[in-house]
């Protein structure tokens, strides 16, 4: 417990309003039979105290691996981690699992996606909660139980005195997720990771859980990272959003700025592909052509280039760096950012040349043609790789 830094040192950092979390060029690679999976490939960001960062991306974009790497939960022998994760001034990447125990639960905690499997089915929820309260706070059994009941009450579980002696299967999915949140909050962490906390839940329950998280964060002045595939979940509930694609952050901006003026073609495509209730029925969706890249051998240049309607030759060859835009805090990695004259010229050029993903985005192909293009695109990518190797 001593290794998290001295109190006076930390107080000074907090007073000077230094960021709680700094991630510098973090890479998490998995060594597998077919090569190296670059699940997280050079991610950097800082997160201020009490703020919420949303990490958005499709499956395989590396968003979950990123959050678990920051917490140092990924430690299998085939994992290669580079870079720095500075939590309150101390680098976590060099710490062993033993040293990390001083952080888990007390400093940082995580709410996982699936409330059905993240609780032990054969242990009463009360014991699952008191276990680490007793370990970290060194209180007696009865004190820990009283704390657990208080926590259950704070996450709005009715009759907490009764529920504490339930097994997980005696509770609904929403209630189990509340228990998971209570467990995560038990030792008063300063930093909370919520990894798709509502994906397995119904829409009404999702709304309850998201509002509960927001309330708890405000009450406890926690810093939060919310990982999700759903732009709707993070829209009104985060201060900043980072959009990930193929292991990299492709755009990062304050939430309002991102929705008002998205610059990366992938962010735009992601938003456009979602059906919205504000649109009339049978509105044609702007599907993204192709599918997410293979992380063992990602496409050369910009990893979104094979699916991007604006892609030019440069995009296939040279990888764009994450650079700052005009608005404060807005960064994006694109050679032809949306809204720029270069972008419009690229669009016109591709449209005239009949580039399939551009035609698809312009709504000039039927769905089946779009899908057949998917196959051709996949073939194209493998050709590029062959040429590159």
């Amino acid at each position: 417990m001593t290794d998290v830094g001295t109190d006076s040192d930390r107080l000074t950092r907090a007073e000077h309003n230094e960021p709680l979390l700094e991630v510098i060029d973090l890479k998490t690679h998995f060594q597998v039979e077919g090569g190296i999976v670059k699940a997280v490939d050079g991610v950097s960001f800082t997160l201020d105290r009490g703020k919420t960062l949303g990490i958005v991306g499709e499956s395989g974009s590396g968003k979950t691996v990123l959050s678990r790497s920051i917490m140092r939960l990924i430690t299998a022998p085939n994992v290669i981690t580079h870079g720095e994760v500075r939590y309150d001034g101390r680098d976590l990447v060099t710490k062993s699992s033993r040293e990390m125990k001083a952080y888990w639960g007390v400093e940082m905690a995580m709410v996982f996606q699936d409330p059905m499997t993240s609780l032990n089915p054969v242990v009463k929820v009360g014991r699952q909660m008191t276990e680490h309260i007793r370990h970290h706070l060194g209180v007696s059994k009865s004190e820990a139980r009283a704390t657990a009941i208080e926590l259950l009450k704070s996450v709005r579980i009715p009759e907490p005195e009764v529920r504490i002696d339930n097994y997980p299967h005696e509770m609904s999915g929403g209630m189990r997720q509340r228990v998971c949140i209570a467990i995560a909050l038990a030792c008063g962490p300063k930093m909370l990771f919520a990894d798709e906390p509502t994906t397995a839940l119904d829409v009404t329950v999702q709304h309850q859980i998201l509002n509960l998280l927001r309330q708890q964060q405000k009450d406890r002045f926690m810093t939060m990272i919310m990982v999700t595939h759903d732009l709707g979940v993070v829209a009104g509930r985060t201060d900043e959003i980072a959009v990930m694609y193929a292991g990299k952050v492709v755009e990062k901006a304050p939430t309002n700025q991102l929705f008002a003026d998205m610059r990366h073609p992938y962010t735009q495509a992601l938003l456009w592909s979602i059906p919205k209730v504000s649109q009339p029925k049978h509105t044609r969706l702007n599907a993204i052509a192709g599918r997410p890249p293979d992380l063992i051998s990602p496409p050369s240049g910009c990893s979104f280039s094979p699916r991007c309607p604006y892609a030019q030759e440069k995009c296939h060859i040279e990888e764009p760096p994450l650079t700052a835009g005009a608005a404060p805090g807005h960064q994006f990695a694109c050679w032809y950012p949306v809204g720029s004259p270069e972008n419009e010229a690229a669009w016109e050029r591709n449209l005239a040349a009949g580039v399939p993903q551009t035609l698809a985005a312009a709504g000039k192909l039927t769905a089946t043609e779009e899908l057949l293009e998917t196959i051709n695109l996949a073939d194209d990518t493998s050709d590029h790789e062959g040429a590159g190797a």
Binding site: E58, S172, V203, I274, P275, K276, I288, L372
Partner: protein, 346 residues
Amino acid sequence: MAGSGKAHLRDEADTILRVEDLNVEFPAGRGRTVYAVSGISFDIAKGETLGLVGESGCGKSTTGKAILQLPRPTSGSVRVKGNDLAAMDPESMRQARTGVQMIFQDPISSLNPRRMIGDIVAEPLAVWGPHDEDKQWPIVANMLDAVGIDPDVARYKRSHEFSGGQCQRISIARALVMEPELIICDEPVSALDVSVQAQILNMLEDLKAQYGLTLVFIAHDLAVVKNISDRVAVMYLGKMCEISESNELYDNPAHPYTALLLGSIPVPDPMANIDDVLGDEGELPSPLAPPSGCRFRTRCPLADEMCARVEPQMRRVSDDHYVACHHPLVSADPVGDPSSEVTISL
């Protein structure tokens, strides 16, 4: 519904499917019964897409399967083009059912991992003919092509060589190969990424136009359902709350439960209101012992003594918009048919 009633049913001549008083109950051991679907009625016109929405456990998938007699409903009729599947003997039902096909939620587990794609898609033909394999392949190839899968590449591959979106397209090809008129889609896109989801939804719209299909689209995502459906039926705990033309339902929800669902959707707009909506706090009651009267009353902010006693009947709000609620959020006609008896359940 919270209620029953058939005021919303249309003239049978125009409909391809008409379900009346459908009940599905399952034994739950120790003499208890799960009331999964209780007395719902609906119909679908040819070429229409009906969306079925509701939270998990509301009976929407059970309803979809009951149309296919999987298993046979406890009571009620399921008439496909006038023929009641529920009343037929097993063999004639099996034959009549070929015109109705199903697409399941999980695309990977709904394909046999040990069989080749060409055989999986040809399986319905192997049962119903043509039995000659040389005649089957052109039909299969044609269907795979229609869903954007290269037939010659896919023929001898197995499902693990395809992505989730591709597997779902193969499942759709398998359903289409019998040239069905009606397809039940049970959460066909909920296991897919958003970019792939849009591809499949666009494709379903195109196939529907191309083959003159009628769809029942079951999903929990209200935005997806609105996008694809002509009409939407909202279910709660085995009952139907509200049925309406889609745009009308989302613009003017009449049932408090519909309003709760719509208020809970996460909207990709930072300015959208995310505060608590009415009725937000409650939990779904057990279908082993559903509440008396209106089943939604335990969570409903407008519930009163009448809701506990009398089950609401379907009443007309406007053309093609019906609601089963004693206190609808928009004005509705009084319960239409005076001869319709008022049920007091439980």
